[in-house]
Subunit: 373 residues, 4 copies
């Protein structure tokens, strides 16, 4: 039997996202790898996200008669080359010294909006220099003045939407972090918050520094009135991230949000929460066209993007795979991830007989597995 | 690759229930471990209990606007800090010399009702000294006089409810015990029954001493008339434990029971019985608010408590995990188990957007797996 | 860790059917073990039979108020101590020199009807000497005169029912036998057919001797008219074995059959056939009380008997486990198997709150897995 | 324990298709084996095809009263000894020097139509010399003149139907080929296209030569108007291959196609596409008898043929197993594969109580697993 070269060592260019994941896993310290890969509790929801996506069977159309599919789309008013934006993810300097700057540069080059997090390890101003289309993600901080400041900075820096994350009143119990006594290294900071070290940097025998920090600075009382407060305070479109209940989604758009993100935070918050894709069609129905419906939690391929569209999503947020790319090769790594996804999605459109993203939203689906809607 | 310290040896404080289980398994003699862990027959129901719970997807609500969820609740009239009571479990001195006294002390400190079993290895009077809120569990003994005495002793000792277990006309066929020739060591006794050694203490090559004892002293003819007899005999609220059929549940409350426990005895009685959580919603519907509906068989995390509430339960009974904690570190071990569960449940409430236990009972659920309702 | 004695070597008395299976597997030559255990084709139906049974969740009733359940029943007019008869199985001398005589003796002692096969390796007259209640199973032979003779011999020998097997127009393709080049040893003969060696005794490199023999002597043209022929020829009750389609079942009783056996021949005939238990409720509904509905294919425990009854069966046929017992210890082994099953079933009745077999037929079931009805 | 000879080395004659697969896998270079076995993307659809087929439970009828089932059928007007045709598969010289000629010869001898592909490595004229009933498969080439020529050559050579494959606007992303840097060896050519080496022959470190070639010569714009163009150009019956959507199927027959093939190209095109068998009954319903409905993607046994018929298919295309047979032993190997399939199918008919193919189409089915319709 011929010995087959592992493809990555042969060319250095991973041929699919799973390869990027393997490469990243080999490169990262175990506790950082766990911080990224892990979910909360028994990780039932983490696993169910994938199982449910794999169970969505798409019914392709034939005879499309198109040369090349148009993958472009408008997401919450931002023009995007793909129905994809980069999900907000904290502390990207953990996996690469350039952190969010490198990731955003790659996203910008790919025509994909990048979401700068409240817990970004590079400031929104630094990230904005990349020229990438930006969104800004808000966590609800106990220090309301700081929230106002962040909104102002985001607007100033040219962000085109505000993403308010509503599924982290407190951080989910991520057992891997607790067991690893995970804490941030000194050089990784929440660049928009305080300058010095925080609870997040204190190593414990058992317990997550990041979770401690979150509970110190986040305000769990975030409620509907706060959405109204925010709505009144900015002219940017608002995206509410972390919605799984149809009634909540309807209320969000009723209160002026431009979009919701159907998400269970990648299985990192409530373990036992419904798989995100299972919840998607009901939210789509409830929003009924009154806003965009984005989707995340488990997207790993162009086919997953197609599945989400076929179930009615406007687009998806890409999470962990971006961090894999960043860990492997900084900006180039993220570029590779987005290029792989673009190529897969463009091909998926063609193979499904769709000339564009709208056509994909008219595809039928069939449930063929566990938790698939 | 960095070698990761097993967390428990690092601090001695397990970070989740699964760790407590592993620690207990390492500490207990194999036949005792099997007596606790085992189910009846092919253990199909034992496994199905977990599979069905994992398949319950909860739909969390966002924008709850609450600082900290209130976990308090009234269970069958007993005020509890959590919607949790400790399930009746026989012979707790098997796993720790202090047995029920240690477990009840921990429960009391946590504000959780403790159920003293007919087959308790410490007397209800001893257990009552811990000051914990107590319930008393009745098995239907052939010696009816003794049943009456037990009721009187329970009332006298300040127990706040009587739990009558109706799913053990005879003991389920627990193959592990039979193969192990399991019998009680001389120092572990059913403290409320006879003083000397019984069938339960006779070691056999094959066969379960505990099962032999049960069939000698239990009266399998327990019927509806006996519930009426008991109802007439005590002013304590009655809880009927081991109900899976909706009509039976309705009849129980019709005859004056204050609550039923939807339970298949942790997969230890009829193998092939419906998973307990599958049966739960139908019982809730049948009881229709006329009594409390408690749930057990498979609860292992705060998320499981949330799942049960979302399906309409008033609260749950916690079984095996209490014995794990007791085996690992006596009262302290049980305290750790209850504290882990409390923290998980409090967090689950917050993450699900619930200000209190009642809000949890209004959550929607989605079936995402095998046997989930 | 204490080393646990394998229970069987400790006492020689297996504690459950799975143990009997292991013991038998260790004792039998691999090709005989394969002949018994194997199914046809990819063995999809063989595996599905079990999966579907395991997915049947029974809803037990509480407060039955019975001391001991009555397991007795009438099966096709034959009084039986259990709702169980021994399925017809060919060539039992393959696994024990006494063959059908030993098995029938054990069945008789247990009050369980024994079915003598057309391909029995002991004659019906020899078997009848055991005094066991007997049924006789007919294969449709090309030699119609011989069929008539067999009917006459069965009546003469006191058989109380004729079981006509209709799912073997030809033998299913059992790959294990084909690969093993399976053939009968010289001393094992179809005692009711020719005296000398047949195709069944010719060893091939590849190919099943037993299948060759079947295709030489069986008449695949068995049709409805033949059922009428048979009906007219005997006063014995007729049982049609191998019915999965509800319309076929209705027609059988319409033509005067007293019962049907819902069976896929233990996954040995059409691979890809519906699991037998999946088909059961529809057949029960179609027969609508106009005849008995027996069930086989996968019964391995008292719980399985209960499941079948709860789905409407009158009783079950026990197949492979009888051969395991016979292989392990002849008559004593079969007695052990039947005693284990009896004990399990009696207990299952009690635990399900059923005073008798009729009560079991009123239990509700819930589907909790793959293929369960 | 007796050591069992692997059956294939004993006689050289594999006893079932799985054995043929094993033998072929052992004989082929790993990259060719991967080219044949592989699917696109994560191979979710590839696996789902089998899972869904295994979940189709057929309900056999008893008392068929037939001696031997008639397996003959008309497929798109071609008389066939089985409801089976050989699927179009490119480059068969990859696995055997005689390639399509050997495979067609075996098909012809078995009375099974053989489909010559556009990418055949032997010309249709060479293949026609075998005398086998032929169909010709068209890919839509950028060079429309060449398409016209191929149609003419196919007619001239006596092909009895044109199969137009519509699910390959571009080639699916087959990761195994990409990782293997798969390319054709110099001696294997698309005999109907250019004479010299093409992109398909260029070895890359990473990337599929075959995919590069496809995208150079295939016209992705194939649309409904092209079907009309083709319909007007030939009197041969048209078969549209790669249809999963019921509306598409209805439109195909509306535009004059004689048949559709429900297929996801063996999981090689859109990963995430619905399992082919899941889509089958809806297409059958939509076509409503106005054309034949063929089925492929996962057929591995006579039972699978029966399943497809029971779900309403007219017949099936046999794909990969033909290549296994060809790899193992050329014409003889394919003959063995077809003979195994014939024997299995003939037996499946008998065991299901079907006198002929039409009877099989009246069988009921029950879903017993993942993705089964
Ligand atoms: C390491 C990491 C950090 C994250 N940080 C944030 C964050 O700061 N704000 C936020 O709204 N979501 C955060 N998320 C959640 C993502 O936005 C997204 O919802 C999730 O990653 C989607 O799941 P997937 O990565 O499995 O596709 C984070 C996720 C990961 C993996
Ligand atoms: C070791 C052990 C002993 C038990 N003893 C009793 C008992 O004496 N009375 C009773 O009603 N239930 C008894 N149970 C059942 C529990 O009350 C409860 O129903 C069950 O443990 C729930 O399943 P879980 O532990 O898997 O959550 C016992 C369970 C175990 C594991
Ligand atoms: C070794 C063996 C031989 C059998 N011989 C016959 C037979 O001669 N006649 C018949 O009707 N069924 C025969 N059967 C089928 C059984 O009657 C019964 O339907 C089947 O064993 C049920 O499946 P189970 O054993 O998995 O429960 C045979 C089964 C086995 C395993
Ligand atoms: C190696 C290989 C080459 C193929 N080439 C073609 C082709 O040239 N044209 C075509 O229409 N389908 C082609 N197919 C798809 C088959 O026609 C058929 O749809 C598929 O093999 C069915 O799946 P199965 O082999 O798993 O049953 C090819 C399939 C394989 C495995």
């Amino acid at each position: 039997m011929r010995v087959r070269n592992p493809p990555d060592t042969r060319t250095g260019v991973p041929a699919d996202l799973a390869e990027v994941e393997r490469l990243a896993a080999a490169r990262l310290p175990p506790d950082v790898r766990d911080f990224i890969a892990g979910g909360s509790g028994d990780e039932v929801t983490l696993a169910a996200n994938r199982a449910a996506l794999d169970g969505v069977g798409v019914v392709p159309r034939t005879f499309a008669g198109v040369e090349a599919a148009d993958t472009g789309v408008s997401l919450v008013g931002t023009r995007a080359a793909l129905p994809v934006a980069v999900a907000p993810m904290a502390y990207q300097c953990l996996v690469h010294p350039e952190g969010e700057v490198a990731a955003a540069a790659a996203a910008g080059a790919a025509g994909v909006p990048f979401t700068v997090g409240t817990l970004s390890s590079r400031t929104v101003e630094e990230v904005a220099k990349t020229g990438a289309p930006l969104w800004f993600q808000l966590y609800w901080l106990r220090d309301r003045g700081l929230v106002g400041e962040l909104v102002a900075r985001a607007e100033e820096a040219g962000c085109q939407a505000l993403v308010i994350t509503v599924d982290v009143p407190v951080m989910g119990h991520r057992r891997r972090d607790v067991r690893n006594g995970f804490a941030l290294p000194a050089e990784v900071r929440a660049a928009h918050l305080v300058a010095g070290p925080t609870e997040a940097h204190e190593r414990r025998d058992v317990g997550s520094g990041v979770a401690e920090h979150t509970s110190a600075v986040f305000d769990p009382t975030l409620g509907w009135r706060d959405l109204e407060w925010l709505r009144a305070r900015t002219r940017l479109p608002l995206v509410v991230k972390g919605v799984l209940d149809p009634l909540d989604a309807a209320r969000c758009v009723g209160l002026g949000a431009s979009a919701v993100v159907v998400s269970n935070h990648g299985g990192r918050q409530l373990d036992g929460a419904v798989p995100s894709v299972t919840a998607l069609p009901r939210v789509v129905e409830a929003v009924a066209g009154a806003g965009d419906v984005l989707f995340d939690s488990g997207v790993r391929s162009g086919t997953d993007v197609l599945r989400a569209l076929a179930l009615g999503a406007t687009g998806v947020l890409l999470g962990r795979p971006v961090l894999w790319g960043l860990a492997v090769d900084g900006e180039r790594g993220v570029a590779r991830v987005l290029e792989l996804l673009r190529a897969e999605f463009a091909q998926a459109l063609l193979l499904a007989g769709c000339a564009d993203v709208d056509a994909a939203r008219r595809l039928a689906t069939v449930s063929t597995g566990r938790g698939a809607p």
